[in-house]
């Protein structure tokens, strides 16, 4: 058993209206950020869990998304493992 840190992104499905994204886009414009072309807002869920393996951790996370974290009708999700190579990328600010 070892511990894994995962990031799960849950985002509104493409094509669906995204009111928060729309409002933020509008706000950024009136703040003078002209170059902004699109804004979409989703959830970033950070989960720390115990699993046998990296794969097991990913599978668990995908299952959680299907069962609870993402709305199958309106949202898509992505799972990223934070740790090792992934992390470097996923975190670089």
């Amino acid at each position: 058993m070892s511990r894994f840190q995962l990031e799960i992104r849950v985002v509104p499905r493409a094509g669906l209206l995204d009111p928060p994204g729309k409002a933020i886009h509008h706000a950024l414009h009136s703040l003078g950020y002209r170059g902004v072309e699109e804004v979409r807002v989703g959830k970033a869920i950070f989960v720390q869990l115990e699993a046998e393996s990296e794969q097991a951790a990913r599978d668990r996370a995908h299952e959680m998304c299907r069962k609870l974290l993402a709305n199958p009708v309106t949202e898509d999700f992505e799972v990223t493992l934070l740790g090792g190579a992934d992390a470097a990328a996923g975190r670089s600010a």
Binding site: P19, P20, A23, I24, A27, S30, L31, V41
Partner: protein, 233 residues
């Protein structure tokens, strides 16, 4: 007293506050968020509602409204500003008041009558009450959970800036009495200078017995008394 109620896109208690001012014997007018001009205003109200739909964070976008520049200047000059519900959230985002209001711990919108205890009656906002009075007013919000770092909370308590605290029906600050999980059950505060008050409950909805309570009148009457020069500092 001449009171200006600022209307942001998505404000929905601007009319209630307008009426509350009139019921307290004042004169009220509206200022659309895109416009400037508080000339002649004795006090300003940031009303409740869902400015910009509460998208991103409640109050986060509204605080950039042109009218807010005037409100900030007005407050800096010591002008009284009352920030109710969404107005409280805007005031925190704008730095008029310390802290932040996050999601209720239940994650649900709460709408019911809530008991509040007056923690400091020696302010322009609460002079119509006695310390320890237990008031009843509607709350109606999803993001009323007051948070600030410990130092700030201690300062608020120490300086008598906590004006209203959530309590239960017996007047005790119990956990059941705290509807949203606010730190130290804080329901309403004032700034260090004392001229800005923010609160989540709705005094504007507690002005007449026929709608359930008159306990909100005190805040508007306190404001009126202060402006007529009679009230406490």
């Amino acid at each position: 007293m001449k009171v200006v109620v600022v209307t942001f896109p998505g404000s929905n208690c601007d009319q209630d506050c307008h009426r509350a001012v009139e019921l307290a014997g004042g004169e009220a007018s509206y200022l659309w968020h895109r416009e400037h001009g508080l000339a002649g205003a004795d006090a300003v109200i940031l009303p409740g509602g869902f400015s910009y739909g509460d998208y991103l964070r409640a109050g986060a976008i509204a605080r950039f409204s042109p009218a807010m520049e005037d409100v900030l200047a007005f407050a800096r000059r010591g002008g009284p500003v009352l920030a109710v519900c969404n107005g409280f959230q805007i005031a925190c985002e704008a730095g008029l008041l310390p802290g932040a209001l996050i999601r209720n711990r239940t994650l649900k919108f709460h709408s019911f009558d809530q008991h509040l205890r007056v923690e400091n009656a020696d302010t322009l906002w609460t002079s119509a009450y006695q310390r320890g009075d237990v008031l009843r007013m509607p709350v109606a919000h999803a993001e009323g959970n007051y948070e600030a770092d410990t130092a700030t909370l201690d300062r608020l308590e120490g300086e008598g800036q906590v004006l209203l605290r959530y309590v239960d029906a017996r007047g005790e600050p119990t956990d059941e009495g705290n509807p949203n999980g606010s730190a130290r059950a804080i329901a309403g505060i004032r700034n260090a200078e004392g001229n800005v008050m923010g609160l989540m409950p709705h005094p504007d909805r507690a002005m007449e017995a026929v709608v359930g309570s008159v306990d909100g009148r005190g805040i508007f009457e306190g404001m009126a008394r202060y402006l007529s020069g009679a009230g406490a500092r």
